[in-house]
């Protein structure tokens, strides 16, 4: 009974988080659209704006001023950058949870301003972070534990995706596939409840047509599935180029002699200038996405031009510090890439293939799935948004190769690369990442025999024997750690007649040493090298200031506890 009521409580938590997160995301999307109309980013508002000469000025000024505001906002975030889905995944995977409210709110504002002012960034990143932050905040409000915190984060994410795409299945799977990275039944109920809330609210508020209309696709020829596979493989390469452009632009930006405060403004102005010639790269690119699925909207060379410019524009905006996601631009890039493939295949086969839209969608998933590391979510998005089984199969053919090739080329996703750069490597699984994240400080012990290096052997033997320890740690007058001695060796030496010699002459060689900020994972690695009681811990390896020791038993206990915790979270059903 107890576990049933806890399941129900968790589901209620999920529904509550989902409801609010869904409303928040509806508001977010609405404000972005409104800002795009007011600030002349949307094509309609640009068309209606007169006098036309001023449009040029506005096109450059709006992203530049938006960039300045974003730069100022980021000064108030401790890390001086907007938080992203990578931060959410980190919090969940390390079971830290507790997403900060202040960074969450400021990141959402930064996303709003960036998107509203036409930066070439996506809306789903800020949305996911917003939903997750709210979930975490709500869990803290209820004083729930870390597990519930993680589940609330996942519920927020699921609701936001379910609402923004109006695709509840994709939302639920995204939360499991990308954020939780497991499919425990315990988490499924609340996440599903959140996804359903998102769907219901989106249905009630948004009157929106499907993202894609693909009329009468017909069944593709058998050979075309081969083409879809190849598009998948090539799409992974495009995704790799996209990811590396973003990361490279970030590295380049840090080396620029421009203060971080004005970097986004510089990027905004540059984007505005480019948009004077190619307005397609401005903003989230919803119109470009739509047009790319229509044959004849772009010529072949135009597709290449807009594709390359969109990649560069997105890299510039995100690298220089605009707040925003990478998913929506990846959708545009992928669709343009797919349309390009479709155009080429149409030329080669003399129009024997399927409609351009099918190729555009295959290209879209082939690029986006590796970028966000979510093959099943991408497939479900296509399926839910088109309701077309044939199209879903075509998309699956593309995804089949895109994700594994992408993983080989650059990693599981852009988020994983970002996390690795921040010191969290999930490529070897979550338990390792968690042990890497777990510090040794809490396991530090002061119950050990500390000896001055000059102590005579006999005295050392006596002290160690009385204390019941087999090891002693030599610390000089400056608190510097000098080495470890073992009772066995000292006893042997003193029996050999060296009882008056100082202990520093009998230091055990090859003794490991851990700095204070080492992780449990590092400590476990050191343990493999030696057979002893404990490892000495110092402030840092340069000063060697002695802090205490960490016992092998304590490390093993920490490891077992963590593994058990993970096992309960990932495989528990109640």
């Amino acid at each position: 009974m107890g576990s049933i009521s806890s399941v129900l409580l968790l589901a209620l938590l999920g529904a509550a988080v989902g409801g609010v997160a869904s409303l928040l995301s509806l508001g977010f999307v609405w404000v972005v659209h409104w800002l795009n109309d007011v600030f002349l980013i949307s094509p309609r508002s640009r068309m209606l704006f007169r006098p036309a000469d001023w449009l040029m000025v506005v096109t450059i000024a709006v992203p530049a001023v938006g960039g300045l505001i974003v730069g100022v906002l980021h000064r108030f975030i401790p890390e001086r950058r907007p938080h992203s889905p990578a931060d959410v995944i980190t919090a969940v995977q390390t079971r830290r949870g507790r997403l900060p409210a202040r960074a969450g709110i400021l990141s959402a504002c930064s996303g709003l301003v960036s998107l509203g002012c036409g930066a070439s960034v996506g809306q789903y990143g800020p949305l996911v972070h917003m939903g997750a932050s709210f979930g975490s905040l709500f869990a803290r409000f209820l004083q729930a534990g870390r597990s519930a915190d993680n589940i609330a984060i996942a519920a927020g994410v699921a609701a936001v995706i379910a609402t923004a795409f109006n695709a509840p299945l994709a939302g639920i799977v995204f939360a499991h596939e990308v954020v939780l990275r497991h499919y425990a039944l315990r988490a499924f109920a609340p996440v599903a409840a959140a996804g359903i809330m998102g769907h219901v609210l989106a249905d009630a508020v948004l009157e929106r047509d499907a993202l894609f209309h693909v009329a009468e696709t017909g069944v593709p020829h058998v050979w075309e599935f081969g083409a879809f596979l190849v598009i998948g493989a090539l799409g992974a390469v495009v995704a790799g180029a996209y990811i590396h452009a973003i990361l490279g632009a970030g590295r380049l930006a840090r080396r620029l002699p421009v203060p971080a405060l004005v970097r986004p403004a510089v990027a905004g102005a540059a984007l505005g200038v480019a948009a004077l010639w190619v307005p397609d790269i401005l903003g989230m690119g919803q119109e470009t996405l739509r047009l790319a699925t229509i044959a004849g909207a772009f010529s072949g060379p135009e597709l290449v031009l807009v594709l390359v410019l969109k990649v560069l524009a997105t890299a510039l905006c995100i690298g220089m510090g605009f707040g925003g996601g990478v998913f929506s631009p990846a959708l545009v890039v992928g669709t343009l890439f797919g349309a390009l493939c479709g155009t080429v295949i149409g030329l080669v086969t003399d129009g024997q293939g399927a409609t351009l839209a099918v190729y555009a969608i295959c290209g879209m998933v082939a690029v986006t799935a590796p970028v966000i590391g979510a093959p099943i979510t991408s497939l479900l998005i296509v399926f839910e948004l088109t309701g077309n089984y044939v199209l879903a199969m075509a998309a699956m053919a593309s995804i089949a190769l895109a994700n594994p090739i992408g993983a080989q080329l650059f990693g599981r996703s852009l988020f994983d690369i970002q996390m690795r750069n921040n010191g969290l490597d999930l490529s070897a699984g979550r338990s390792r990442a968690m042990l890497q994240d777990l510090g040794i400080a809490p396991h530090l012990s002061h119950h050990c025999v500390v000896l001055a290096p000059e102590t005579p052997l006999a005295e050392a033997v006596t002290r160690m024997s009385h204390a019941g320890h087999g090891e002693g740690y030599l610390v000089d007058g400056g608190q510097r750690y000098c080495g470890t001695v073992t009772l066995a060796r000292l006893t042997a030496a003193s029996e050999d007649g060296a009882a008056e010699r100082p202990v520093r002459e009998y230091i055990d060689p090859d003794r490991p040493l851990l700095p204070r900020d080492a992780s449990v994972w590092d400590a476990m690695g050191e343990l493999q090298q030696f057979a002893g009681e404990a490892i000495a811990v110092v402030e840092d390896t340069a000063s060697r200031r002695f802090l205490g020791v960490i016992y092998e038993a304590a490390l093993t206990r920490a490891y077992m506890e963590k593994t058990e915790e993970l096992r309960r979270e990932e495989h528990g059903s109640g």
Partner: protein, 393 residues
């Protein structure tokens, strides 16, 4: 109550104005029932309207009953839309018309240009159950200078005998010359043609005007129109397309649903309407800035937009009344007795994929888009002439 008190306060502080205002209010109030002395020259007003079956229905349900109620005669002049007439009379002392029947987009543009007067919706009659006009009129029906009276739709109609075994079901069929061969009549104007051309690519309705605002979207639309080649007969006067269709000159035609309905009912012509992608628009009343009899014009608008008058009009022509209370009263056709609810554009069966015309878009881009359309049309003419001479050789 609040308003009354405020009026009293104003009357006390500025007595002259208050009294004057009261007198003026009395005069316009009396206009409906008795003729005040100063209205000697207001024995008649002139309405600029569209002619045809539309004008006949207006006369029967609005003009004649108005004359009967007030003694003010209603004279009618005809035009075929646009602002040319209003603009050409803008600087004369008195416009030749007191009331103009404008489409909403023309009304918005005319308001912007100051060609028509501001109209206070407060002058309108409440609904039969006392519903205030602001709630009773449809969303977007009341604007600064114009008051919508009816909803009409631009639709594609087709000759149901022209395509044995099949019939057009979606707007894309208008451009499908393979499955639906034969000449089409389209209006010599960008409106509706551009929307349909772009919708034929299966773009969603709510993105229609965003996409039409992009270079590429517009290019796609013109390309689709061009794909019709020499199969197009361009029409100017609104009665033309129904005539061409009834006479078998074309197999499909764009036009106002009312005109098609007219030949369907009165001539029993084998015409059917393709409701898919109907473009819905408000028809409005407006008063020219320099109208000679503005008070009588206001009295007329107040009379003609009464719920019962709008419902009566919908018994003659399938125009959806612009106010909810009137739409609920729509019954049968005045002469044939058919159920009119099935023929008005606002019926759920017909409005599944209705385009709400983006009036502010047209009001703003009107001239630019016309220019672009005319340039394209000139090019089209050249090309079809070339093709014709080539095929003759």
């Amino acid at each position: 109550m609040v308003r009354d008190r405020r009026w009293l306060r104003r009357a006390r502080w500025v007595p002259g104005q208050g009294v004057l205002g009261a007198v003026r209010a009395c005069v316009s109030g009396l206009l409906l029932t008795a003729m005040p002395a100063e209205a000697e020259e207001e024995r008649s007003i002139t309405v600029l309207s569209w002619g045809g079956a539309y004008e006949e229905a207006q006369r029967e349900t609005w003009f004649d009953p108005f004359t009967e109620a007030t003694g003010i005669e209603v004279r009618v002049e005809r035009y075929s839309g646009g602002l040319r007439e209003l603009r050409s009379e803008a600087d004369s002392e008195h416009a030749p018309w007191d009331v103009v029947d404008l489409t909403m987009s023309d009304a918005l543009a005319a308001c912007e240009e100051g060609l028509i007067q501001r109209l206070d919706p407060g002058m309108l009659r409440p609904g039969p159950e006392g519903t205030p006009p602001r709630r009773d009129f449809l969303d977007g029906a009341l604007t600064e200078c114009a008051i919508a009276h009816t909803v009409f739709a631009t639709v594609v109609a087709y000759d149901r005998t022209a395509f044995p075994g099949r019939r057009p079901t979606a707007i894309g069929d208008l451009f499908d010359r393979e499955r639906f061969p034969g000449p089409r009549a389209l209006q010599r104007a960008p409106t509706a043609n551009l929307e349909w051309a772009l919708l034929s690519y299966n773009v969603p309705l709510e993105e229609l005007y965003e996409l039409l605002s992009t270079r590429r979207g517009l290019r796609l639309a013109f390309r689709r129109l061009a794909s019709l080649g020499d199969a197009v007969r361009w029409w100017d006067a609104p009665e033309e397309p129904a005539r061409l269709l009834a006479d078998g000159e074309v197999v499909m035609a764009s036009g106002y649903n009312g005109r098609f309905f007219d030949v369907m009912v009165n001539e029993d012509a084998p015409i059917e309407i393709l409701w898919d992608a109907q473009i819905r628009e408000f028809e409005t009343w407006a008063i020219p800035r320099n109208a000679e009899h503005p008070d009588a014009a206001r009295a007329f608008i107040r009379f003609a937009t009464r719920s019962d008058r709008l419902a009566a009009f919908a018994r003659h022509l399938p125009y959806g009344p612009a106010r909810h209370s009137a739409a609920e009263q729509v019954t049968t056709h005045a002469t044939t007795g058919i159920d009119m609810r099935l023929h008005i554009p606002t019926h759920p069966l017909n409005s599944r994929r209705a385009v709400r015309k983006d009036e502010s878009w047209y009001a703003s881009v009107h001239d630019r888009i016309n220019e672009r359309f005319n340039a394209w049309l000139a090019e089209w003419k050249e090309r079809t002439a070339e093709a014709a001479s080539e095929s003759a050789e």
